[in-house]
Subunit: 337 residues, 2 copies
C-alpha cells in the first residue's frame, strides 16, 4: 500500500491530527503584527541565560514542554521528538532534548525545519511508529547573526534586501484523535540552486525552491491554488515572496489574495526589518499560534504551509559556493473537505 | 495499529529490505583492516576537489549514486534521500542532494546519522511513504579536524584518548523486496550526558548513550545479547567500547565476543590513531561493506547496529558545556529468524 501521490507527495491515510501547539517569541516579535496570537512573549531575549544560544535552547524547551502540557498527554507517551535549528550541529535542539529525555531524532533543514519535522512526525504517527510525536524548531536573532553574519557589537549596516532572524520557537504535538486539524499531505522538496551567492538575500535564494515544491504539490495532488484558504510560505520575506509570485506566474499559476508569507507578515513596517522576518522560528511561531488558532475557529479550513530553507553555512559561502535551498510543504484541513 | 515494542523501539511489520549498499573511503582507511571490503578507495583524499569539504560532499554523492546504480532501481523511484553529516549546516549532504535532484530530508545526529537515516528510511518504506529510500552519511578527517579541533597546518599533538575521524561515506538503499537483508526493528535513542567536557574523549562521552539504547532495545524487544551474531557500535573506539562493556556489566549484561565497535576495528594498530576511528563515515562505511556483505553470505544472520553521536559543537564546548550524546540502534536479519 503506497501512501503517495505523484513524484514528491505523501498522503496521510490515517489522518494524524494536531493535538496541541505552542509558540514562544522574543520582545521584538511580541511588538510585531502577531503579538496577540503568540502564547508566550519574553521580556528579555536572553531569557535569564548567559548566552543567546542557551536562551534559544531554553525557548525551544519551553515550547515543547508547554505544547505537551496543553495536549494533556503524559510525556512518556510522546514517542519521538523531531527537532532542529540553525545552530552549528543543532545544539539548541539537542540540549533541549537532553532535558526532555524523549526519544529524539535531530533534523537539519535550515528554515524549512518546521515543515520537515511535521512531515517526519506525521509519517511516524500515520505509520503507527509513534503514538504521539513532538515536532519543533526555533531560531534566535542574536545567535544566528553572530554565527552567520557579523558580531552584534560591530553594529554592521544591514543591506536593504536583508531579513531579520526571528527570535521564536514553535512546537506541534501530532497524534491520532477524533477531532481537530488533520495533517492531510506533505510534499518533500528537492534542493534547488539558482546561483544566488549573497547570504544577505535569502529570499531570492529560497524563492525558486518554494516555486518548485508548490508546483510539485499542485501537480501531484491535482489541486488548484484556490483549493486552499491560505497558502503560507515560511520566510521568503517581501522580496522573496514577490519573486515566488513572479515564478509561479511564469509557470501559469496566479498566486492571489490567499497567498502570504510569514516573513512578510511578522513584523510591522515601523520595526526596520527591511524585507521582514526569517529563521526557523518565523514560520514555526506563526503556524503554531495564528494559523492553527484560526483553523480551530474554522476561519481557515484548508491551509498549505511551505517552509523554505537556505542550506548554506558560513564556510560554504566563504568558499564561494552559491546557496542551495529547499522547501517542504504540508497541507492541513479541518472539518472535512 | 501500533508498530512499537516497549518505550523506544519500532518494529517494521512490512520488513523493509536492504536493496543495495555502497561504501567509499580515503587512502588511510583503505590501508586499514577493512581495505578489501570497501567498494571504492580514493587515492587522494582531496578527490580532485579544491577543498576537503567539497571532497566530502563528492564522496557522499558517489556512495549514493553507486548504491542506486547497484540497486538497479531507476533514480526517480528513490522517493526520499535521508542524509546528514558533521559539517556545520550539513553542507556535504545538502550539496550532494543538490546534484542528485532527489526529494531530500536532512538529518543531524552527529556520528549516529547512519542509524538515524536507516530508521527514517525504514519508517518511510514500511509505512508506504516511499517506494525506495536512500540512507546515507559520511565524514572526512580533514574537514572535521579543522572544524572541531585545530587547523591541520598547526600539527597539534593528539591526546592519547583521541580518535581519528574516518574519511568515508556509506549509502544503503531500502525498499520492499522478496529476498535480502531485512530491517527488523529500530530503537530511537534519548540524549544522555554524563558531564564529559573533553572534546578529545568522544568515546567516554558516547558510551553511556550506547549503554542506554542497548539496554532499552533489549528490554523493549525481550531479546538477549546472545540473540545477535554481532552487536556493533558505531565509533566508540577502544576506550569507549571498554566503558560500554563496563556499563553493561554494571547493568547485568555481559557483552561477549559477539560485540565489537567500528571505531575499534577500522584501523590497524600501526596506523597511530590511538583509540581508533570515529565520525559518521566510520560506522557507515563498515556497515555498508563488511557487515552487509557477511550477512548476504549468511556468515552473519542477526546484527544489531548501534551508531553513537556526540551532539556538541565547537561553540557549545567553548561555552563550557558538556557533551550530550545519543545512540540509535537498528537490527537486521537475513533468512528468517
Amino acid at each position: 500500500m503506497l501512501n503517495r501521490l505523484g513524484k514528491q507527495t505523501i498522503v496521510f491515510k490515517n489522518k494524524p491530527r494536531v493535538i496541541s501547539h505552542y509558540s514562544v517569541v522574543g520582545p521584538k516579535e511580541g511588538n510585531g503584527n502577531f503579538g496577540k496570537f503568540f502564547h508566550k512573549i519574553l521580556k528579555d531575549d536572553l531569557f535569564g541565560e548567559k548566552s543567546y544560544e542557551a536562551a534559544e535552547s531554553k525557548m525551544l524547551m519551553l515550547a515543547i514542554t508547554e505544547a505537551i502540557k496543553v495536549s494533556g498527554i503524559p510525556t512518556d507517551e510522546i514517542d519521538a521528538l523531531f527537532a532542529g535549528d540553525l545552530m552549528n550541529q543543532i545544539t539548541s535542539s539537542s540540549f533541549a532534548a537532553r532535558s526532555l529525555k524523549l526519544p529524539y531524532l535531530g533534523l537539519f533543514g535550515a528554515c524549512s525545519t518546521m515543515a520537515e519535522s511535521l512531515i517526519m512526525g506525521a509519517c511516524h504517527v500515520d505509520g503507527g511508529f509513534a503514538r504521539y510525536a513532538a515536532c519543533a524548531t526555533g531560531s534566535h536573532f542574536s545567535s544566528a547573526e553572530k554565527q552567520f553574519r557579523y558580531p552584534l557589537e560591530l553594529g554592521t549596516q544591514r543591506p536593504p534586501c536583508s531579513q531579520w532572524t526571528v527570535t521564536g520557537t514553535g512546537c506541534t504535538i501530532l497524534g491520532n484523535a477524533d477531532m481537530g486539524i488533520t495533517v492531510d499531505s506533505a510534499t518533500i522538496g528537492k534542493v534547488v540552486d539558482w546561483n544566488i551567492t549573497d547570504a544577505n538575500n535569502m529570499g531570492a535564494a529560497m524563492a525558486p525552491a518554494a516555486a518548485d515544491t508548490l508546483k510539485a504539490h499542485l501537480e501531484d495532488t491535482g489541486r488548484k491554488l484556490a483549493d486552499y484558504d491560505l497558502i503560507l510560505t515560511g520566510d521568503l520575506g517581501k522580496l522573496g515572496s514577490e519573486i515566488l509570485i513572479d515564478l509561479m506566474e511564469y509557470n501559469g499559476y496566479h498566486l492571489g489574495t490567499n497567498y502570504n508569507d510569514c516573513g512578510q507578515m511578522i513584523f510591522s513596517n515601523t520595526q526596520k526589518t527591511f524585507m521582514g522576518g526569517s529563521g526557523c522560528g518565523c514560520g514555526a511561531s506563526i503556524l503554531n499560534s495564528y494559523v492553527f488558532d484560526r483553523m480551530e475557529e474554522h476561519k481557515l479550513n484548508n491551509v498549505l504551509f511551505i517552509a523554505t530553507g537556505a542550506l548554506m553555512s558560513s564556510l560554504s559561502s566563504q568558499q564561494g559556493n552559491s546557496i542551495p535551498s529547499i522547501a517542504h510543504a504540508v497541507s492541513f484541513n479541518i472539518g472535512g473537505k
